[in-house]
Amino acid sequence: MGNALSETGRRVHAFVLACFATTLATGPAAAQDKFIVMASTTSTEQTGLFSHLLPAFKKASGIDVRVVALGTGQALDTGRRGDADVLLVHDKAAEEKFVSEGFGLPRRAVMYNDFVLVGPAADPAGAKSTDIVAALVKLASSNAAFVSRADKSGTHAAELRYWKAAGFGDPALKIAGKERTIRLDYRACGCGMGAAINIASSTDAYTLTDRGSWLSFKNRGDLKVLVQGDKRLFNQYGVIVVDAARFPHAKTELAKAFSDWVVSADGQAAIAAYKISGEQLFYPNAAKN
């Protein structure tokens, strides 16, 4: 239960907190509670899962989980710098690479949902289908607009896998070159899931999103789910504890407690219980895989 603050750190904290206290007499930000930092994805956070899940964990263990929401790629990089104690992301290949590089303990599966392709209700490109690859082929030869997160997130990684399966390389790169094999108006925003859906809904564009983000997004405009149900749209989430051997200050014990809880019966039940308008967003699957 080590406090990660060094002596200097404590002094700096004390100074800043003293200034806090002289400005408004609010209590100092809790530097003494048990807490860990979890790097997760914007899409997961924006679904509201954490406001449901983490209080349950706190009740069970007394540990505060502070969520820093980034794209999967950024979350893993944060883990590589040792700035997070535990990671919850959804890109299995990248996760396994992270573990094999020695930054984390072996990953464990936690839950899954699926990706969906959303687009304007009128569907000018005729993408509606239960086959994601076929839909992308149709999109490629249309001149509709497509918004990509292009931010090394789990969603972006999935999107690139589907383009590859459809026979195209990364559309962002192709368009920069002379040869255009894609007529599609491809817009790489480098942004989070919410922002991408925003852009898509304001400009009548298509985009790939995870179902959780879609269900919790409020500004849908004219967008509808056009492609769903394809097995390839399966979206697996994994949890990784950052390795203390690498980062002595990482709170590995507390992080392990979280990792153990989230794959336990209690944690899994809490995940399954999270619904928006009666619809479940995430399906726990820790036992398998």
Binding site: T8, V16, F20, R66, V67, V68, R80, D83, N219, H249
Partner: protein, 237 residues
């Protein structure tokens, strides 16, 4: 247009219901920004006095650097502070990253440059007026500069206000070093960014209005006080 109106209506409801997240966010923003101003004013005014009063080789170079820092993009400062405070960085063992203290540090750097540059200018202008006389009364250069700060205290207040404004409306640096953690480092500006990207406009709108009101109130208070003081001052001039 109706989306706008709809948002305002929801916004009013949020405020009236005493929505706890709203007030917690506002309180955190104010605490962080005021702390930033305290620290930045303390060091910034001292630097301003020093640069206005002292004469030393390399002073001009330092002034140039200071004026360049005024235009520093906040994300750059955020990035540099992040790398310093990261656990794999030199100050990582302090464990300050992703806490309000990190936000205070990053913003204090930005705001300090503003306060130092503006106060130096203010003091230098005042010294042109009365510096000779103060020195002939026995004041050493730094003492004269410090006295000018006292002399121009209302002008100093009008420097500290934009400084506070910069602190309270900062997004980029605060997002990077704070991590926008719910309940810990999520302030008004980062909440607005988050809620807007989620498509949840009413909360974002309310917070934007609260921000404007806070800054407006402080502005008004300083203006009133200044006018009251002005009635008793500078009469014969």
């Amino acid at each position: 247009m109706s989306a706008f109106v709809e948002s305002f209506r929801t916004a009013a409801a949020l405020v009236l219901d005493g929505y706890p997240v709203l007030w917690r966010t506002v309180r955190l923003s104010l605490t962080v920004s005021l702390t930033v101003c305290l620290i930045a004013a303390g060091f910034g005014l001292a630097v301003g006095v020093w640069l206005a009063g002292a004469r030393f080789p390399g002073r001009r170079a330092l002034l140039l650097i200071l004026n360049t820092l005024l235009a520093l993009p906040s994300v750059v400062v955020g990035l540099v502070v992040y790398l310093l405070l990261s656990r794999s960085g030199p100050l990582g063992s302090m464990g300050i990253l992703f806490t309000p203290s990190a936000m205070v540090i990053a913003q204090a750097i930005l705001v300090l440059a503003v306060i130092a540059a503006l106060s130096r200018q203010l003091i230098a202008d005042s010294l042109r007026d009365g510096g000779d006389q103060l020195r002939s009364m026995g004041g050493r250069p730094l003492v004269c500069a410090a006295l000018m700060l006292l002399h121009e205290r209302w002008a100093v207040a009008t420097i500290l206000l934009p400084a506070f404004g910069r602190a309270v409306s900062e997004v980029g640096a605060v997002m990077i070093v704070g991590g926008n953690i719910d309940g810990v480092t999520r302030v008004i500006t980062t909440t607005i960014a988050l809620e807007t990207s989620k498509g949840d406009l009413p909360l974002a709108l309310v917070l934007g209005i609260v921000l404007l009101v806070v800054v407006g109130l402080i502005n008004g208070a300083i203006g009133v006080a200044h006018r009251a003081q002005g009635k008793a001052m500078d009469f014969a001039r």
